[in-house]
């Protein structure tokens, strides 16, 4: 009896979760002008429209650039600071570490607003770079936290063992530390990419002409229901799933160690 | 007296692996039974089946004459002390101990009194209000024991309860476990891989390996007269020497010839000699290969000159002047030799 109820409940929740996505994908193949019933299709006209829409494709490229650049920077800064705090005894370490992770607790809207006012005051124009700076702000605490958690006493002992066996500092770093940290570095980069790629509010506030994909999608939305939005949404969804599968496979191949 | 627990031909398979192979066992009321064996021997699987957490693939389990094979843990007259104690961290020690009584619907006043009584029995009368994380490992173990005993089970099941404790604490807890068992009179079934623990605690030792019972009986008998080669080397150490049985019912080995009652002529068998039965004496000249000092004795391995491929293990007094590489002469009493089928 409980089996039946559990299965029904789980099915209902799965249904709820997938409903909007199913509708999105279904009506991206809509033959007529509106992504609502009745369904006239399937047709690829909206996918063609998306690929021909320069603003959308520019937005896509911009999103990728910003995501890759900011994730790389956030991971690097996160790694350097994690290394500094983990391997050395710095005064007020706990306080400083807390400071670096502070942005995690603040809404993106507020971070974006602060930067908007600050840049405005400095006379800096809205741009992709401004948005990128914001993205590093939101991703740096995450990278730091992930990498720092993987640099504890256990890893320190392994490095000591390497030193004990004669490795010089740079060898320890390249042959022991970096490979050991690889999963943490990868996870940091990947998560930052995910957050930056999808981020809307900061990009919306801090960009003007050149902007990221979420903002371009938003602009599309302002014009009303449009199957082009479905198409681009489904594309984003598809790409994200592929990336997620890649991540799964990579993360899993590491298991046997 | 009829057995309290009867395990009849119980087998357990997990996919291709056979964890238990047609095991049969009887547990007497008031006894302290120890299931002894290495990891993978099936002892924990058997305990889980007794506790009702696992249903055997074939066979039956009878407790107090009733068929409990498919009965849920709650309904069986058993209680289990888990390896990690599984004390509920959000409840006080007293609430933990009283939990089973609460599930039975016992009134608050009565279960508080009983819990307090049981805590006194295990030596923790002042811990009622404390939380588990405030106690040491040994204390938590005792709370787990109290929680299981307070529901007055017919059989108490213990899954490697002393594994997480250091040596001194373990010895102390062994004494206490034995004392508590005698006091409450409940039958205990205790799983361990530590043969010293088994010998210290058990009335009845069950030696298991690869899902089968290799040997069972009182610790004294199982130690002095092990039934199988595995038992001889798992319970204490032995030197095992292979040999051939001749027509006169004697077994000939590299270290001598001994009586082999009950073995067929022409068959291969082996003998086992306990190291404490090997003394310095004029029988077997040998070269000393290793000497390990162990405080109250020296653990010595020698290579007999006339049988260099048959290393002999000896336990010699700590003061024996002996050095690796020198020659020594050892002897043992033929009466102490254990003859085993192969």
């Amino acid at each position: 009896m409980t089996r039946i109820i559990s299965t029904l409940y789980a099915a209902a929740i799965y249904g709820f979760i997938f409903l909007p996505v199913a509708v999105l994908v279904l009506f991206s193949f809509q033959g007529t002008l509106f992504p609502i019933p009745p369904f006239n299709g399937p047709s690829l006209r909206w996918y063609t429209a998306v690929l021909n829409d320069a603003r959308l494709t520019d937005g896509l490229v911009n999103s990728l650039l910003v995501a890759i650049a900011t994730s790389a920077l956030a991971t690097l800064l996160g790694f350097l600071s994690a290394w500094g705090f983990a391997r050395f005894h710095l005064p007020a370490s706990a306080l400083l570490r807390g400071f670096i992770t502070l942005p995690l607790t603040v809404s993106y809207l507020i971070i974006g607003m602060g930067l908007l006012i600050f840049f405005n005051w400095l006379g800096l124009p809205k741009s992709l770079m401004a948005a990128g700076i914001g993205h590093v702000v939101i991703n740096l605490p995450l990278c730091f936290a992930i990498i720092y958690s993987q640099m504890g006493e256990h890893q320190a002992n392994i490095e000591r063992a390497a030193r004990d066996l004669g490795a010089k500092e740079w060898q320890v770093l390249t042959l022991v530390t970096a490979p050991m940290l690889w999963p943490a570095l990868f996870a940091s980069f990947f998560l930052s990419m995910t957050f930056s790629w999808d981020e809307f509010v900061i990009a919306f506030l801090l960009t003007r002409f050149d902007t990221t994909l979420p903002v371009e999608i938003w602009n599309l939305l302002r014009a009303g229901l449009n199957p082009k939005t479905n198409a681009v949404g489904s594309l984003v969804f598809g790409v994200s799933i592929v990336l997620a599968i890649v991540f799964e496979l990579v993360a899993f191949r590491k298991r046997p160690q | 007296m009829t057995a309290l627990v009867c395990v009849e031909n119980v087998s357990q398979t997990f996919g291709p692996a056979k964890a238990l192979d047609s095991v049969s066992l009887s547990i007497q009321p008031g006894s302290y039974t120890v299931l002894l064996g290495p990891s993978g021997s099936g002892k924990t699987t058997l305990l889980s089946i007794l506790g009702g957490f696992l249903q055997p693939t074939t066979g039956r389990v009878l407790i107090n004459g009733a068929d409990c094979t498919l009965m849920a843990p709650a309904k069986r007259p058993t209680a289990t002390v888990f390896q990690d104690y599984a004390l509920f961290p959000h409840m006080s020690v007293g609430s933990n101990v009283a939990f089973g009584l609460r599930m039975q619907g016992v009134s608050k006043a009565e279960r508080t009194a009983k819990a307090q009584e049981m805590l006194r029995l295990v030596g923790l009368e002042h811990a009622f209000e404390k939380k588990p994380h405030q106690l040491s490992g040994g204390q938590r173990q005792r709370v787990a024991l109290a929680r299981a005993l307070v529901v007055e089970p017919a059989v108490l099941l213990l899954d490697e309860p002393l594994g997480a404790l250091d040596l001194k604490l373990r010895r102390q807890m062994q004494d206490e476990l034995k004392a508590i068992q005698k006091r409450v009179g409940t039958a205990f079934v205790h799983v361990t891989h530590d043969q010293e623990e088994a010998m210290a605690l058990a009335d009845h030792v069950v030696v298991m390996n690869h899902g089968r019972i290799e040997d069972e009986g009182s610790p004294e008998r199982v130690y002095a007269r092990p039934a199988t080669r595995f038992s001889a080397t798992f319970m204490g150490e032995s030197t095992i020497v292979a040999g051939q049985v001749d027509v006169q019912g004697r077994i000939t080995t590299a270290l001598g010839t001994f009586d082999a009652p009950g073995l067929a002529a022409g068959s291969t068998a082996c003998i086992a000699i306990r190291p404490e039965h090997v003394h310095v004496g004029p029988a077997i000249p040998a070269i000393v290969t290793t000497v390990v000092y162990q405080g109250s004795f020296k653990r010595v391995t020698v290579a007999p000159i006339h049988a260099p491929d048959t290393p002999l293990l000896a336990r010699l007094p700590a003061g024996t002047p002996i050095q690796e590489g020198t020659q020594i002469s050892l002897r043992f009493d033929p009466a102490e030799v254990i003859v085993l089928r192969d």
Binding site: I36, L90, D198, F200 | P73, F82, F99
Partner: protein, 279 residues
């Protein structure tokens, strides 16, 4: 053991991150605070925007709306996600659990904007729900779901059920299976085992998840803007309006600071509750 050897190297490596956080988080935040004190149209320092918040009913209402919506969303999401996480953790065979979980959070990977938009397709006047119900004949005319608070709640709950399923699942999995066995062994049936043992043990984890939901939801602009329409404004919408239509940075800053204070208050309440739980 990590002595202060080569402290210069240490400072050199932590400085970039510290400076970045200082320059692009702390200073802008302070700038925002300062800006809130210099309202447009008034000379010099003034707390006008803050007092205005309490005196202007529409401003005050946006805060209460935000709190109401967020609390409703948090409650519903937890209530829906817990049993679901339980089924995934204990009802699904081990081999399939990762897959089941991945499927349950797959829509996480649609763009957040697109995800909210897709609910519009479902809830709009000509959307799926209205179309189906009209088609079956259960309705004679379309009902208004989009551009109402209900739509915002549905949109939020959709997102947070996925998030909470993940966190509660992790929470349930790290419980030692021996707790349930011990409870069962001592006579507790599945219901009592849950009430007396599992629920109390998972409560701190739920609280953390609920807090995360609260913080993310109350600061979100996208979902209420797309789904809730402009009849009822939540705080983030109000804030964006100050910047967008009126170019009023000072006002927007003041509202942001107030929102932050609310979140900080929630944080302290949560932290205090968790500390009590632990005692």
């Amino acid at each position: 053991m990590s002595a202060a050897r080569q402290p210069i190297a240490a400072w050199a490596s932590v400085s970039p991150a510290l400076l970045w956080t200082l320059a692009f988080f702390a200073v802008p935040f302070a700038a925002m605070g300062v800006a809130s004190l210099f309202p447009k149209g008034e000379a010099g320092l003034s707390l006008a925007h803050y007092t205005q918040f309490f005196t202007n009913p529409s401003y005050w209402r946006s805060l209460t709306n935000s709190l109401e919506v967020t609390l409703i969303v948090t409650a519903i999401s937890v209530l829906l996600a817990y049993p679901f996480a339980w089924i995934l953790a204990f009802g699904v065979p081990e081999r399939w659990q990762r897959l089941a979980l991945m499927l349950a959070v797959l829509p996480f990977w649609t763009s957040y904007v697109v995800r909210s938009y897709s609910w519009l397709l479902v809830l709009a006047e000509k959307g799926i729900i209205n179309d189906s119900l009209l088609g079956i004949g259960l309705l004679s005319e379309p009902i208004q779901i989009a551009n109402t608070r209900a739509a915002t709640v549905i949109g939020f709950v959709h997102f947070f059920v996925m998030l909470l399923t993940l966190t509660i699942f992790a929470n349930l999995k790290q419980l030692s299976p021996n707790y349930r066995k011990a409870a069962a062994d001592l006579g507790a049936g599945p219901v009592r085992s849950f009430i007396h043992v599992i629920l109390p043990l998972t409560l701190p984890g739920i609280m953390v998840g609920a807090f995360l939901t609260f913080v993310l939801a109350i600061g979100d602009y996208i979902t209420p803007q797309i789904l809730g329409g402009n009849n009822e404004l939540l705080m983030p919408q109000l804030i964006m309006m100050q910047i967008g239509r009126r170019g009023d940075f000072a006002g927007a800053s003041a509202l942001s600071i107030i929102l932050m204070l609310v979140v900080t208050l929630a944080y302290f309440l949560c932290a205090r509750w968790l500390k009590i739980e632990r005692a």
